[in-house]
Amino acid sequence: MTGCRFGDRALADTRDGPILTAHRAGLIGCRGCGRVWPDAEETCARCGAALVPPDRRSLAAVWAWLLAGFIFYVPANLFPMLKTKTLGGLGGSSESTIFGGVIELLHYGNWFVAGVVFTASIIVPIGKFIAIAWLATVAGKPATVHDAHRRLLLYEVVEFIGRWSMIDVFVVAILSALVQLGFVASIHPGPAAVAFALSVAFTMLSAQSFDPRLIWRGLPLRNRKD
């Protein structure tokens, strides 16, 4: 294996000066492996990934997935997530939605789990919708370097945290598989589990469709090569 080639020196006039991007140089960078190609190329010949120019057209996919994620988030909250039966229905059977489940956990004094479920199923998804919508709105608009760093940090947080919302679906699956004690108690999943899983998946796709390179450039994008 030969040594790895990589640079930590940017093509900048000075350390704080303007940084030359691939796009400005009339080139196109591969987001998969970092290779740089002439602008006309469509596929990276090293890693096979499609070469996409960093322009606002890619935001259409972000909005589409985000909308799909939001649409599925509605039934995820309206329908029951869990259906619980105790003592063959004599001890009562209940259906709980995401929010109802949190209230129920609080009621039993289970603050920790209630907090985790509330964060993972309500705060994080709603925060993600707002964050992605905001990033997509301001993407490509002029920003200071400081703004850009903040936006990138927000993007990284959204990208990292997205998968973790799936935790509630796993909890429902485990509870439903485990708590099958016949007469004593049984738990079944509700339709909200599917809606929630889809909502999380679509939001993940939305975040993945967002091109963080857009954070770093002002409009207009396609024609400016100054």
Binding site: M1, T2, G3, C4, R5, F6, G7, R9, A10, R15, I19, L20, T21, A22, G26, L27, I28, G29, C30, G32, C33, G34, R35, P38, A45, R46, C47, G48, A49, P54, Y108, N110, F112, V113, A148, H149, L152, R163, W164, M166, I167, V169, F170, V171, V172, A173, L175, S176, A177, L178, V179, Q180, L181, A185, P189, V194, A197, Q208, R213, I215
Partner: protein, 227 residues
Amino acid sequence: MQSEGTYDLTTGAGLVACPRCDALHVEHDLEPGETARCVRCNVVLARPRAGAFTRIIALSVASLVLLIGAMFFPFLEISRMGFGNQTSLFGVAMAFSEGPLMPLTVALMVTILGLPMLRSVLLVYTLLPLSRNRPPLAHAVWAFRLSETLRPWSMAEIFVIGTALALVKVAGLAAISLGPAFWAFCALILVNAASNVFTSATTIWDAIEDGGMRTDDRMPLRGQGLG
């Protein structure tokens, strides 16, 4: 190949673009242990580690063994008032197997078991020849790209945390015992974390390229067609 530190602004040879912010960098060789970061957004561009490929292979095989073990051993067991229930990972996935929730069963099996296993196999396929200084196998580019694409969808570690939460939830309701599959999944988190430390995608792409794979026409080719 271009000589060290030279670049061509018309073809992009010898340059690297940051995947996060598009800033151009000049390629140069890194020693194992060094880290190259983007000067603008500070994202890690490459982080070669000595013996990384061999370690990733070892960790991938370990992860495969753990996953296969986790499939067959009991996962969790609960009992209450003489009623008991034991579940395996299949049981967990099958929780959604009634009627309209069926697709979720498939999705669970895929994200918990399928994708982690597939990624392990793909990584071994990509890296085994490279770790022995042989040219990569025919579909190495495709295999590694697929593995990277699937990375966020492989959710074994999220599943373990979900299990822990579920256990806290039912702790008051019934007695629970943890099966070997549960511990296998806990070990899997550590194995995955270690594997991530050693994985530097750009380093692997460089190795695939240097190993004689099809590349752009600026590079010398080893009996392969042009891209």
